[in-house]
């Protein structure tokens, strides 16, 4: 077969491109997965409580969700977060990333609040330490304080079912 090699090379390239095209270049794998969640000490929304740190939810598996009132993707995932928090009892910690407290509060009042506590990361300093490069991003933090998973972009029902729910050990309702 004269053309065996060129055809094999072509098929190989097609296979490589086929795999490559299914991957999202915007999803940069986080080097923090498997490592302890970076510490921070930030005030809660509106100044109460005065200081929240990741040690406050040590011992429980929580979702840490970076969001902002100016973020469109956050509106997309918001109904799902509401459902997870209120119907499945998932503990979600919200970090208002680079947002003004008043704007965050207005957003929560308008759309509902899925968060057990909301932390004001006005300057995005915690976001920087957590390697956040665009909201929304959601981290799963284990009871030992280590990051188990990072969801980049809006939370989807698929991501919840296949990646996150197994980590939390939440049983399907019903």
């Amino acid at each position: 077969m004269k053309y065996l090699v060129p055809i094999a090379v072509l098929l190989g390239l097609i296979a490589l491109f086929a795999v490559g095209l299914t991957r999202d270049p915007r999803e940069v794998p986080s080097p923090l997965v498997g490592k302890p969640a970076p510490a921070f000490a930030l005030p809660g929304l509106g100044g109460t409580p005065a200081r929240v740190t990741p040690a406050d939810w040590r011992g429980r598996t929580v979702l840490v969700n970076y969001f902002a009132s100016w973020c469109a993707g956050c509106r997309v995932e918001h109904p799902l977060l509401m459902q997870l928090a209120h119907e499945q009892g998932v503990e979600i910690i919200g970090l208002a990333y680079k947002d003004a407290d008043a704007d965050t509060q207005a957003w929560l009042d308008r759309h509902g609040n899925p968060y057990r506590s909301v932390i004001a990361d006005n300057a995005g300093s915690a976001g920087l330490d957590w390697g956040v490069y665009g909201v929304p991003e959601t981290f799963v933090v284990g009871p030992d304080g280590s990051i188990l998973f990072k969801q980049i972009g809006p939370m989807t029902p698929e991501a919840w079912e296949t990646k996150i729910r197994p980590l939390l050990g939440v049983r399907r309702e019903g």
Binding site: R26, V28, P29, L128, W130, Y133, G134
Partner: protein, 163 residues
């Protein structure tokens, strides 16, 4: 001479521009500029943080600046960023197992191309050489003798009846 004046003038101008960046002396400024041109912005992924105006790029530039002022080395600053964002922030990723193909791939392709080209060139020459077989003198002699014998046999009966 005039060129020297021009150079001096440009140098003066550049120092004015450099002084514009707050809190950095000329050497720190040079390090700062070199470093931010090597770091990828994660929001506008095909831009360095020097080029990008994304808020994250601004944050990262400030972070680099603060750390340079604090006297941290380039390796420390790069380490700070890769701890958070991975090797993706580096426009020049380090050579390791997962990036070996990235670094060596072009050379492998080049080598493969050379091997292929060499084989192709040799392959086209070989068939031409193969057709030019050396003449076997014995075979020629045999052929000649056979032809002569055949001609002689043809001539003999034709002549005989007349004689």
């Amino acid at each position: 001479m005039r060129r020297n004046y021009l150079a001096a003038l440009l140098l003066l101008l550049s120092s004015v521009v450099l002084a514009d960046v707050d809190g950095l002396d000329a050497q720190q400024e040079a390090r700062y500029q070199a470093l931010i041109a090597e770091l990828r912005c994660l929001v506008c992924q095909n831009q360095t943080i020097a080029e990008s105006n994304a808020p994250l790029a601004v944050d990262l530039r400030n972070q680099v600046k603060t750390q340079i002022v604090a006297g941290r080395s380039q390796a420390e600053i790069v380490g700070y960023l890769t701890e958070r964002y991975g090797d993706f922030v580096l426009y020049r990723p380090p050579f390791k197992a997962s990036t070996a193909l990235l670094w060596l791939g072009p050379f492998l392709l080049l080598l493969g191309g050379l091997v292929w080209a060499l084989r192709y060139v040799r392959g086209t020459r070989r068939p031409a050489a193969a057709t030019e077989k050396p003449v076997d003198p014995e075979a020629v002699q045999r052929l000649l003798a056979e032809t002569q014998a055949a001609l002689a046999a043809q001539d003999a009966p034709a002549r005989n009846p007349k004689e």
